[in-house]
């Protein structure tokens, strides 16, 4: 029920609580409310739950999951681009 998925903002229209975006989820585009992430811009990723963006994805923090492994000396062979397919 608390499922929320990241998507990329393609375009934005409207203001305040009526601020809406077209968001792409791996190619599937849906209308999403940006009422709760007023700081979001086109091209950024948001986490979306039941039609509402609830956070803006922090890219630097997103990479830390892999950096922790690097610091442990665990990650020489992992190519981060592997997930782009």
């Amino acid at each position: 029920m608390c499922l929320a998925v990241p998507g990329k903002i393609l375009s934005i229209q409207g203001d305040d609580f009526a601020r809406m975006a077209r968001v792409s989820f791996g190619g599937i585009v849906k209308q999403v409310s940006l009422a709760y992430v007023p700081e979001a811009h086109e091209g950024e990723y948001v986490i979306v739950h039941v039609g509402f963006a609830i956070s803006l994805v922090d890219e630097a923090e997103a990479l830390r999951t892999f950096e922790v492994l690097k610091q442990m000396g665990e990650l020489e062979e992992l190519d981060l681009k592997a997930g782009e397919a």
Binding site: C2, P6, F17, I47, L69, L80
Partner: protein, 375 residues
Amino acid sequence: MKYVEEYRDPVAAQHYTDAIARTVTRPWTLMEICGGQTHTIVKYGIDELLPRKVTLVHGPGCPVCVTPLELIDKALQIAAQPGVIFCSFGDMLRVPGSSGDLFSVKAAGADVRIVYSPTDAVRIAAQNPDKQVVFFAVGFETTAPANAMSVFQAKQIGLKNYSVLVSHVLVPPAMEVILGSHNNHVQGFLAAGHVCTVMGYEEYEPIATKYKVPIVVTGFEPLDLLQGIYMCVAQLEEGRYEVENQYARSVRREGNIPAQQLVAKVFRVVHRKWRGVGEISQSGLALTPQYAEFDAEARFGVSGYTAEEDPECISGLVMQGAKKPEECTAYGKRCTPDHPLGAPMVSSEGACAAYYRYRRLRTGEKVGAGSQGRD
């Protein structure tokens, strides 16, 4: 980065598994709070990748599962009334009430509709002024901002035919019930990443201190869970009990302030009954007086109704981590997804349904580990 596939990388997963194995010296029991996390763990067999010393028990974080029987019955009573369009998230439709479920009411002719977002229900209300449109507003803190917005918008545009049947619950009071129980064996928590995206994690800090229990705010992909487990186990081994944030790409300490503000305008904190658990003090939300006109229970006169739960279903023990689904005598026999006795067998996030779906037909090898997508 697309923030999905990267976190399912099997090489990185193996490295985190190895790191956990190197860190653990003693047996530890962790609980993941959220049903979405339970689903990922069972689907990908994460619990079986872990050293034997680390046990995962499944928490109460499935709103479908904890919605009390009497609220399901109220939903059935309201949906069956003529002139009502009853809107709900899809996974509520098969949750058994005292007699039947929303699907059976729909099959009998009621207008029951599955919506993706509560704002869809507001639109249906605006398009059908001659009907009463009711939305079944269930969920944890994650869903509260969306449900609050639907009520806020309905008031703004003056909708007189929209109301919500509220069954909102809050995570921290349930954690305190589990930690305060005399037979508690949970030593560390993976807190629910999307609940904390909305609420932040300041309110977990006093819980970590009071019960001396590490709490790691954790995401939902396999790597998130493995990293969260690693961080939690590292704290336990070092004797620390802090709140840490594995899911920092989405969660900030203060949470989502605009969302919290609208939730506080529309909802107030009240005592709530949890299915299989009983009433928990200050553990849920109800409409504030300013928005009381949108209360479906009052509008349809079902406020006073109560119901008794099936004694055979041990869902309360399963959701508090005291029992695994397979330990229930009804599991897979009298209770299956087609004929559920209790809600954890209904929702895809319910522990019983996850075990039934991914563990039932196993013959030794892992099942489901390679499949994509989550529902």
